[in-house]
Amino acid sequence: MERTALPRRLEWQLGQVVAIVDETPRTRSLLLDVPNWPGHTAGQHVDVRLTAEDGYQAQRSYSIASPPEERNVVLTVERLEDGEVSPYLTEVLQEGDQLELRGPIGGYFTWRVADGGPLLLIGGGSGIVPLMAMLRHRAAQHSAVPARLLYSSRAFEEIIYRQELAQLAAADPTLMVTHTLTRQQPPDWTGYRRRIDRAMLAEVAWPPSEQPQAFVCGPTALVESVASALVDLGHEALRVKTERFGPSGGTA
């Protein structure tokens, strides 16, 4: 459906914050009304640009958390202590404010129900965001494409979308959600308590013979170790798509 749109160049536009949802102590979701939004595919991102009074501009990329089926464009933003953009988005921006953005961007790290599966999603921290858009899209389409999510967080209270993930998994026998907590675990925690490694992937991921489509998103170190472990386990590199978080943009 997205393909019927005429080619167009990306342009900056304004979205309005219609609601803000706290997700964890360090992350919150911004629900945006973007008047000329052309629609998007799960996994895509937007660039957000802030302009200071003196004209200085800072720009960052943020994954879209909402599925294409949802009217609002939702960004889930993690506050980085030394960040140039995220402190504004997570602490200053309020309902009713406007935000300059361009998108949707990227056709590579994307998944549609029609792309099939099985779907192997591996995320660390706020790397869950584009993966969540895929799971929300899959749920909105009542898709039975088998899906597994392996999600690494530092602590229980830092698991983004914790309740929604539990609800999705409880209602859907074809979806498996596995958590690992790398720094702090609740006393009754029975799940993994280490960084994602080859042994964990061998236990949780589909075997290479199933030819899963893998999407890996998170900090660079996690993405690189997971991607090479998957290839090591016999998964074809072409089917392992990665999205690293890190400094991006500058000014444009």
Binding site: A5, E11, I105, Y108, G250
Partner: protein, 90 residues
């Protein structure tokens, strides 16, 4: 090519490429002029700096594209790309 420098995935260049080209560029298939490897820009390595963006071949590390931006202007060096295949929008 060392991996000391922090790089991102090809997707991260989607914004600047989308500002210049009307086509979806992260799925464009590129032939590296240096090693002839073929792959989508989305799977390439992106080095984003204030002055611009360098997209490198994931196989050999050579620059496929260099995009520099200044006031009201882009400089685009595609000499590292031998061939590019784009999906036409119907």
């Amino acid at each position: 090519m060392t991996s000391d420098e922090q790089h991102l995935d090809g997707n991260a260049a989607g914004g600047i490429l989308g500002q210049i080209f009307a086509f979806e560029m992260t799925t464009a298939e590129v032939n590296c002029a240096n090693c002839d490897a073929v792959g989508p820009i989305g799977a390439a390595l992106v080095y984003a700096m204030a002055m611009g963006t360098i997209i490198r071949c994931p196989s050999c590390g050579e620059a496929l594209m260099r995009i520099t931006h200044g006031p009201q202007r882009f400089w685009i060096d595609f000499s590292g790309t031998r061939l590019m295949q784009l999906a036409a929008t119907e």
